[in-house]
Point group: C2
Chain length 348, copies 2
């Protein structure tokens, strides 16, 4: 039983309590808490002691109401692959935490007008200060137009080439896909198949472009039979690979536009008794967790997903605080060699 163990114990301390305890005006407490200048060091210390003693934590809602800022950032994503999404979440979450903003997740599913309405309803209801758009939402002209009309700042992760003043972070999808294809060519492969990513994703087209460019620069004829449409999900990779491996002259290497589809490709190979990598090399893209838990582990492109998301959040916060849109950020990828690729051993 302490001296102040009375009924007031349950009520949270407010700025008034702190001001009274420190013998200053609430404005001074506010200055100390927000690191504003013009506070004498001795006064500052007195305030800090009172804050500590009263276990004071400023009310976010009072602060928001008075400052006309919610300190809330929204992260909107569609969810093609859970492996990818969780990294996107982590990156944005980390940056928001550092900046004392809170991150609100909003998973969407629809398309077109309905999707735009969904995003705008989320923004309206939560009164978020800004939004982070993960792909493929980062490419939606319709959403971008609606956000502009609404005057809501946003940052984009891996957007398409649409010109817009809002900040974004991206990587060189085309260059990375080209690099991977050239790596397979370097292993001696000539019959290299490609599984395209989800239609409508800018990255899908870029990766296909890189694949084609590598073939061309090595004078390997493009074979439409070796290119299949997927959607970034495991099942689509499984299905596409089943078809590819059933071709009369089957490919000796399959490059899937992401790791989930590459994992599906491995399963098709297992089903059909095709040895990886002895009879078939398989490559993915992302370096997601799944690339290390399949057999054999996948050769892939390490896409800096966490960093892309962190950077997008960083740019958004900077633009909110400065008012001017910062320059876009381009991050580097890396080819990771694992056991799923190799030179041909038993070509049939």
């Amino acid at each position: 039983m302490t001296a102040d163990n009375d009924k007031t114990r349950t009520r949270k301390a407010s700025i008034d309590d702190v001001a009274k305890a420190a013998g200053v005006a609430i404005k001074t407490v506010s200055r100390v808490l927000n690191n504003e200048p013009n506070v004498r060091e001795e006064t500052r210390q007195r305030v800090l002691v009172a804050v500590k003693r009263l276990n004071y934590h400023p009310s976010p809602s009072a602060r928001s109401l008075a400052s006309r800022r919610s300190y809330l950032i929204g992260l909107v994503y569609d969810n093609p692959s859970g492996n990818y999404t969780i990294e996107v979440q982590r990156g944005a979450l980390a940056r928001c935490r550092e900046g004392k903003f809170l991150l609100l997740l909003h998973e969407v599913t629809g398309a077109g007008e309905e999707l735009t309405q969904d995003v705008m309803a989320f923004a309206n209801q939560t009164h978020i200060d800004g939004l982070i758009l993960a792909p493929p939402l980062s490419e939606s002209e319709e959403i971008i137009r609606a956000l502009d009309e609404h005057g809501l700042p946003f940052a984009r992760i891996a957007p398409n080439d649409l010109k817009h003043r809002s900040p974004y972070s991206d990587m060189d999808d085309e260059g990375a896909a080209r690099e991977m294809t050239e790596y397979l060519i370097g292993l001696g492969h000539r019959r290299i198949a490609f599984i395209i990513g989800r239609p409508g994703h800018y990255a899908s087209g870029q990766r296909l472009k890189g694949y084609k460019a590598a073939l061309k620069s090595h004078k390997i004829a493009f074979n439409a039979d070796y290119v299949r449409q997927g959607d970034f999900l495991f099942d689509s990779g499984l299905e596409a690979a089943r078809q590819l491996l059933a071709l009369p002259t089957r490919p000796t290497a399959i490059f899937a536009a992401n790791d989930d589809m590459a994992a599906g490709t491995l399963m098709a190979a297992h089903e059909m008794g095709v040895a990886v990598p002895d009879q078939l090399s398989v490559a993915g893209f992302d370096d997601a967790a799944i690339s290390r838990t399949v057999w054999p582990p996948l050769t892939t492109i390490s896409q800096p997903t966490y960093q892309l998301s962190y950077a997008a959040a960083d740019l958004l916060l900077k633009s909110l605080l400065s008012g001017t849109p910062p320059k876009p950020v381009r991050l580097l990828h890396k080819l990771i060699r694992r056991a799923s690729t190799g030179v041909l051993r038993n070509p049939d």
Copy 2:
């Protein structure tokens, strides 16, 4: 150019604007928005028309400040397996959205006192109304004590047997593990190994108990060599399985306490050239996404992770609104048979 296309366009409408437009007091607007009784239907309609016309969305911070509620729920989790975490997120998110609460995610990493401090700092800074504890945090006596002292309501997902009045959701881990073990016994296996989950998780102990109980009821002697410690992560399953498969008399079946470790077990079998399921049956637990993307697909226990989390959020919201702690909820599991288990074909 509409008639009201002047500078006021950027300012958001407030409750005062709506009241003025509808010719009522703000209290009446508040009644309509919160579905309170005692509003004439005609008045109600007038208000709704004004809300629509002004595109009015109530300010969450003003509402929070006045009502002394943040309408914020925290979800705190440690992250042993990404596959599990994303389902936990989804379940809680879905329920909060329905209840017009916002969900704040907080991933923690530490342990002991530091961990408790981390959780409490999160609660203090955000002023959340309640907290959802995912395992193994749902078992921490220290955190529970701190939350009690703080007077913060919380719900637990799959907690241990600690008696506490706070609501929780769980499943029968012991029964499920027993069922899986008996299924393996039914296939003719006698040398059944078990890989234990992360130490300190209540579920880990319960699943081990179920495994032992099944052996006992079928009069199969318990062999300590066949039981290995894991931590729910892929690598620990890989390592444990490598050891098990290197035993002079190796097991014919391995039951891992979760899917990630079972996936690691499959990789060890691949590495060592042990055919699954012909020479070795492998079973997991969770029915996470990974159970369908490995080769062969895993026989596992479908743990209703999403529903457990949804239920915990549901119980928390109910207890916040009613003030009385609702009854705990127990959810059902299901054994999912896939290709990773079978009768022995080529015992060596």
